[in-house]
Amino acid sequence: MKILYFAWLRSRIGTGEEDVSPPSDVDTVGKLIDWLKSRSPAHAEALSKASVIRAAVNQDYAGLDHAVSSSDEVAFFPPVTGGSA
């Protein structure tokens, strides 16, 4: 499973991309977040505030209940701040 981090999540975790192989019972975005937190103290800290993290599965927005599988690209990032004015 390909995991991507953007903005301050990338800065705090220290990488923008990692390939992971979670156990098969990690089958939703929410469970994946919990599992990723166990990878390092930096992951645990960066992923601790669920309310300010958005997720995308295969480049579409996804909620905590959205299914994930080993072939997915899953991204985590803060609420977006594009455009201007």
Binding site: Q59, P78, G82, S84
Partner: protein, 151 residues
């Protein structure tokens, strides 16, 4: 439909010409150009990060949503990323339609939705070093009014 995500600047006039060239069905074009604002509180410059692939995908989805709501001939969205200075252009949204009402409404809808859906993040320079800009609630409210019909 044209969606471009690019580092380079763009020429709004030339882009609008490109949108309308050879199409006689178009009666109106509205365009929105967003700039980097040089606030006293903000830094001198910023860096705009995005999620390549998802950005284009979300912009196409936003455009498809606009087409379900208004009769649109064509849409152009150009969004820059990378290092930007106050006064620099960030984004262009242009909508061509047979009549002005649809062009005005769709253009406003597109920029409001883009701000809450397109995966861009601002890293502002500041006196204490660079910092990530938080999303604004009023941007969500501006986007939400298109779903609640409370305009």
């Amino acid at each position: 439909m044209t969606v471009r995500v690019q580092r380079d600047d763009f020429d709004p006039g030339a882009e609008v010409d490109r949108l309308t060239k050879g199409k006689t069905s178009i009666g109106a074009v509205t365009s929105f150009v967003g700039f980097v604002r040089g606030d006293a509180s903000a830094g001198e410059a910023m860096t705009l990060e995005h999620y390549p692939g998802m950005t284009e995908r979300q912009l196409l989805a936003i455009e498809a949503e606009a087409r379900t709501r208004w009769p649109i001939d064509d849409v152009m969205v150009i969004h820059r990323f990378g290092r930007l200075l106050p006064g620099d252009r960030i984004v262009l949204v242009a909508v061509a339609s047979s009549h002005r009402a649809a062009a005005f409404s769709a253009c406003e809808f597109l920029i409001d939705w883009l701000k809450t859906r397109a995966p861009f993040w601002k890293l502002e320079d500041g006196a204490d070093g660079p910092h990530w800009v938080d999303a604004k609630d009023d941007d969500d409210e501006r986007a939400d009014r298109w779903t609640t019909g409370s305009r």
